[in-house]
Symmetry: D2
Subunit: 373 residues, 4 copies
């Protein structure tokens, strides 16, 4: 199978190059960049330099081949599936071209994640091809695996690959909002406090991501205004079957990869204990509900009691680690999730979606253990 | 004036050495370590090596002098004021010895922060000298400056120097719980999500603080069970005049200095806006209330609109930076505070307390700007 | 094929677990720890937690299986090849047990790297089984591939897997000392200045590796006394056919993975240019010699002119990147090499040696591109 | 005394703001930026936000005052001494304007460090005002204190404040090249391998300093072509009284502050020991010579035997720490120096020069101990 990547020179695109180069079902990778056609991916990422005559990471001929960046149109014409890793608004035309050609398109931007109204409200843009939406689906497999599969069965699809924060937060809140585990208070808001590594800001240098400015510091940003808010709200409301108020604060942390989301949900009828000491009523019951809920999810690990989710343990992998806790009064459920923002939060999840669409094993190309450091 | 430090070899103790060496009113510093008498502070901290004949950082003779670690009793006997930077339970006897000698004692442990019942519930210990409590006061100057001053006017005092997380969280929630700014929902809990740098774990090596284990990762710890919970609860309840439920999640971040606390408080009667877009109703009104509230506090900076508090901007200083926000629906106040956990969260606040007790300018020895990186 | 790892709980052992779990020829992994039999590798490394029923990273059944740590003897009995990742002196007996059983043993300690005299001088130990040396070989494939292969053809072997610094430094100096490229001055010493990430210090916490002590700082250590000196000296002298004086300074850098070695060799007859400006006589000729020399080495990349080797570009991979330079006067060759100390410097090179011994493609299980961050 | 800073918004300029704000002899600071007149230093560095009515860090009125950035001409007119922290070539006119006004100018660029020929060769520029050179002096106080003092006694001076690498390397090599300690081989080159933190690259964002690109990695740069080479060469040759070949390789390390220089000098007549074991002939004799040589230098600390210089121990201070070693054969002297590149390598040394010129105690405003982390 051949795969194309449009926007291969950004971080998410390059991470796709890395993952797809080791995917056992991908024989050939085509890379596109509208701004740098003719250049080579190794000009930006010498990591990808190959020795002449090197074999493929997956065996056989090298999928990356020459690594030349071509025009998007050429890549679409040559590929059995196409990934778009582009800024908001830049990929819709390519999605249409793919579908018209009968090829599925996995979009890593926000263009296919929201309804028209939210998209306009938060991104200030309108859809160019509303009819394309009949072939599009939101690509969080743990929620919508069957919808993705069903739509793909009937022709080419456009997958709106989820945002990094929405992935971590939705997976953390999903079981309890779906009725598994302790009962949330009526109309409970979901407070989601999250930290992202600096790769989340992308490849373009800027003052906020200049090493001396962001190393050795933690800072929140876009409080009350981050564009992932409507996606999180939509997901949680769909799960709960009611409008769920979402309070979301993203932070930038001094490290590269990973999102840690700490999610707070008030519980129903919880006569909070007087604060007479550390919580001894542990969260075992809630944790077992989470384990049961995600029993068949290959990429969601509910950690044993006593462990807390940490970004360092999912590094370079497609796992979402979740730990389940109660506050010391027993009145608030605290669920903590960790993902690698570049993998489960972007390129890995896109590969997972490709696997579903193409009928491969869902973990194909995604089975490496998390790196230890 | 001479000052003594018992427990000078831990991180908080060494930070006191650094700050007091530059304090214009301190002529001589005495250092004690019960475990290493006879050794020198420079054996552990070569940072403190001085050239022979070097002048004092503050001018005149060097307060640090030889840097020899002596027995605590000798230090108490030689000092006009004594700081204790010891593990919980280890300092009460020294406090008593100081008061008996007519010397004030500033305690950086938890021994003088809580009431007897909370101390027993969270630390599993009882007070040894209950009568000493008549001379003790909780040392968060922004709340209790007058009490500290008044007690010190009548004799030697024992100051329970606040914990790092309680300092950041209490200063963030203080104005709104005290009735300044938007009105909290009745019985509103305070959700405090905080990240600390690794110096907060102290000087003793351990697996969780081994560089390869904690660098490049963020992880929560002691969820629902951190010993700072009762101190935070007590402070906020005292401010609000009602029992305030506190939900607190500490995290470890991959950097050295600083605590960032993100504090959530639901507002009263807030018909949350539908999530139709980014928050345009900005938090200016609430921010102005905070500015007014802290107008005369030398060490609390309310940041201008558009800026978020960040640990990197208070590094090495005694400032607590606060930024005030609303979530996108307008229903939740989000207050973010940043301190240097070793300064305003420990040694700097202790010096601030000394300044109050001794009648010095409160910022004496604490006026350096935050380091830029 | 089944593989066993003795000392699986240290960093090099755990990295072997990660790499061998994804190796296409390994069907089953057995883990041993003499100090923790009965425990599970996931107790130390939750990274390795698998979902029940998860397929192997390499496809088929999971090699890691239960992850239980067993007694070394049981692991030796069950394995077709055994890796030892143990402290100096602890593995010789296991090596003997393996050879006696007809199984090859790849030793990641220093026990099989040196001659008896150097081993005694630098490690203070004697060989227990001198006769075992007839079956042992030094495992730097780029130097000794044929010897490894030939010895393995005649029975089980013990491979002395090279140290991390010696790997980086030997590969940097090899071509020029072997007569490819510019001619070194007669009796030229090799000055090797190198920086290692903190994983090089292993898993045991200690003050020097406590996050607040080593983050945000660079420091040399063991100047003139590092135990890798005799290994480097032996390698370079064997290449040059004369005793090569080695001056080696290791440094600890504030990051996890990677060694960067900067190697200086004075050139013959070099009338050094007056320092009249930046070097315009570039190092192209020397670089082309290096390219030619390593043309068929799968894991050695000579970087294009204009690029400098950097640890960040070999992260998580078995590559050794090399860049070739001249100083501004033209009198000194400066060769810079970068490896991942845990991969090409330890576990990856061990897998490479296994591939040679077992007759697999030498890059089997080692083909992933370097991680981007 | 009033001081002006031209180029106050770059990192060196801002560090000057920090240091001079705490200098006891500076009553008022004027800040200039030709590109941003009318803006405020706190727009770029909110670290410098002051509470209304705050007292000066040094006592009395705040030197920083409003923090408004003014035109350079206005600042020159108002100041008793002026600092220029500008790119190469941008400050010579300001230097002239100062001298014409009778005011000394301390230049942190390379404009006053080199002779005309070297400046042209390495910077591609010519001096605009050659006659200004009669009033200029190279500002490494440990070498040229008397010259600085003497010139200042006769009128306003222009100080060429040394570069960061040249400071670290010159101080490391000075004693042995000056004839104190072991005798270098005739015509011995000085090999200087150094690592700098990312602040050395300045405030402007760029790909190489984008957090994800440079964190967690070490990389050399400008090998054989760094512009500090002629300055180092000039210093060492002046000391040795012969042309000293300098081989210099700068590296970028993943941290903020500090330069570590490892300097290698071959010794005379050194019959190198066979490498029979770790170096037992320690470097005590050489170390004692260094101690004696620098006995009266307030800012140079020769570390006790057993300690290695490390950037983490001079952080935020004006110290240059030096440790003295021999390689294991005894044939090469290895001297390691550590400075904070922003302090002793830039702004701190500039203040030291001001103190000399103005007749203040040389450590005035520079006495704080290094920060512990």
């Amino acid at each position: 199978m051949t795969a194309g990547i449009i926007g291969a020179t950004g971080y998410a695109g390059a991470e796709l190059v890395r993952l797809l180069s080791g995917h056992p079902e991908i024989g050939r990778l085509y890379l596109a960049s509208s701004s740098r056609p003719g250049q080579n991916i190794t000009d930006m990422y010498p990591n990808f330099l190959e020795k002449a005559g090197a074999e493929s990471p997956g065996g056989g001929e090298t999928p990356l081949a020459a690594g030349t960046l071509e025009e998007p149109e050429k890549v679409i014409a040559a590929s059995d599936i196409v990934f778009g890793a582009l800024p908001a608004g830049a990929g819709e035309g390519y999605a249409k071209a793919c579908v018209d050609r009968g090829v599925s398109y996995i979009d890593l931007s926000a263009d296919f994640r929201l309804d028209a109204e939210s998209y306009r409200a938060w991104y200030g843009k309108d859809w160019l091809y509303p009819e394309l939406r009949r072939r599009s689906v939101y690509g969080l497999p743990e929620l919508y695996r069957e919808q993705i599969r069903a739509l793909a069965a009937s022709g080419p699809v456009v997958v709106g690959n989820p945002g990094c924060y929405p992935t971590a937060i939705t997976l953390a809140a999903y079981p309890v909002l779906a009725g598994s585990g302790p009962k949330p208070a009526p109309d409970a808001a979901v407070i989601a406090d999250a930290v992202s590594g600096v790769t989340g800001a992308g490849r373009e240098p800027g003052r906020a991501y200049h090493f001396p400015e962001c190393s050795d510091s933690v800072s929140p940003y876009k409080v009350g205004a981050h564009r992932h808010i409507p996606e999180i709200t939509r997901n949680l409301s769909a799960i709960a079957g009611r409008p769920v108020p979402v309070v979301f604060t993203p932070h930038l942390g001094p490290y590269n990869r990973g999102i840690l989301a700490t999610v707070y949900i008030s519980l129903d009828g919880a006569a909070r204990n007087a604060a007479s000491g550390p919580n001894t009523a542990n969260a075992d019951a809630a944790r077992l509900c989470y384990e049961e809920f995600y029993r068949n999810e290959r990429f969601v690990r509910i950690l044993p009691g006593g462990l807390c989710a940490a970004t360092g343990r999912v590094r370079q992998s497609n796992y979402c680690d979740i730990s389940v806790h109660l506050d010391h009064t027993g009145g608030t459920l605290i669920v903590i999730s960790a993902i690698d923002n570049m993998v489960k939060g972007a390129a890995g999840q896109a590969v997972q979606n490709m696997n579903i669409i193409a009928g491969f094993d869902e973990s194909s190309g995604l089975r490496a253990f998390p790196a230890l450091f």
